[in-house]
């Protein structure tokens, strides 16, 4: 199955042409609507042997008004050794997606990590709490509005450390 056939399968699953499609280094990237995500992933898993969820991650584009966040899913067909990347853009005001834990047990920790660092809410997740950062942390540190440096530190002189 080449990328064109795969795209046709995804289009059949969504019921419409996907918003945008890219092909980076031979890997198909498909931009999806929030509403069609679960349907597409389920179809890819059950009908097209994409049985392995490689990764879930997110990224933050503060300047992209109305689509500040993007959640990215990597799926792998282990039989045909084919990969696909699904991207869902989200506005900051409506930062939620359906969980994939019903399809892939491995999505549990990946979604917790994405929640931890970006604050994306996965609806229906059995245990959505922080996984890597301190439990009492009150922000999502990989959002671009936060400085990378530890802002609470007192021992380094800014003139020497180039803040």
């Amino acid at each position: 199955m080449d990328n064109q056939q795969l795209l046709a399968h995804i289009a059949a699953l969504t019921g419409s042409e996907p918003n945008a499609v890219e092909d980076t280094y031979g890997m198909l990237n498909v931009h999806l609507e929030t509403s069609s995500l679960l349907r597409v992933v389920e179809g890819l898993k059950t009908k097209h042997q994409f049985i392995y969820l490689t990764d879930i991650c997110a990224s933050h584009y503060p300047d992209r008004v109305g689509a500040e966040f993007e959640v990215i899913y990597h799926l792998h067909n282990l039989v045909a050794n084919q990969r696909v990347r699904l991207k869902v853009a989200l506005p900051e005001a409506q930062l939620s997606l359906p969980t994939l834990t019903g399809l892939y047990a491995g999505a549990n920790w990946m979604e917790r990590e994405t929640f931890d660092f970006y604050g994306v809410i996965f609806e229906g997740h059995p245990d959505l709490r922080r996984i890597l950062n301190m439990d009492d942390m009150d922000y999502h540190p990989l959002r671009k509005q936060y400085a990378l440096e530890d802002e609470t530190r007192t021992d380094k002189n800014d003139t020497f450390f180039g803040r």
Binding site: N133, M134, L148, R153, D155, K156
Partner: protein, 182 residues
């Protein structure tokens, strides 16, 4: 030739030797320091070399490593300590019996090092008191040995009453560590 520790100053005569208890205990403590290696990253690899035959920390009476805080004298913190690890480190320190010393090995343990970031503790002295800092990224085994020898000096010259003093208590309380009778 076997090298032994020199006897302290004292009065010697036929069949007796008199010196102060401080000095005898100091010598005993400084030459039998049991370390607890708290190795979290690459400084821990240097420590493994330090413990190995080429550098041989055992020459300083520290061959008896223990991963149990109750039986150890020296907490050797080697590597990056994340903020999530900080309460664990503090609990390990709390569980050690007096007298205890802390050796902070490497830039990360001393100051956070290159990890000036939200998830990393900016030096272990934010949560526990430190006796000796060893700089380096990572420090060579020679430097770790020098740090241990500084600890030996501290142990040797420490007054037996130091840990009962008000200054010591105040210092521990500044880290929110309270002694048992409180």
């Amino acid at each position: 030739m076997v090298k032994t520790v020199d006897a302290p100053d004292g009065i010697e005569g036929q069949g007796f030797f008199a010196t102060s208890l401080d000095k005898v205990i100091g010598i005993a403590r400084s030459n039998s320091i049991w370390p607890l290696p708290f190795a979290t990253s690459c400084c821990g690899i240097e420590f493994m070399a330090t413990m190995g035959a080429n550098y041989d920390l055992a020459r300083f009476g520290s061959e008896r490593l223990a991963f149990t805080p109750r039986q150890t004298d020296l907490l050797m913190v080697m590597g990056t300590i994340s903020k999530k690890m900080a309460p664990v480190l503090k609990q390990v320190y709390d569980q050690m019996a007096e007298p205890k010393w802390v050796l902070s090995v490497g830039a990360c343990a001393c100051s956070g090092g290159i990890f000036d970031t939200y998830s990393v503790l900016q030096g272990i002295d934010k949560v526990i008191p430190v006796d000796v800092y060893v700089p380096g990224c990572p420090p060579r085994p020679e430097q770790i040995i020098e740090g241990l020898m500084k600890i030996q000096e501290l142990a040797k010259n420490e007054s037996l009453r130091r840990r009962d003093s008000d200054e010591y208590k105040t210092m521990l309380e500044s880290y929110n560590i309270y002694s048992a009778e409180k």
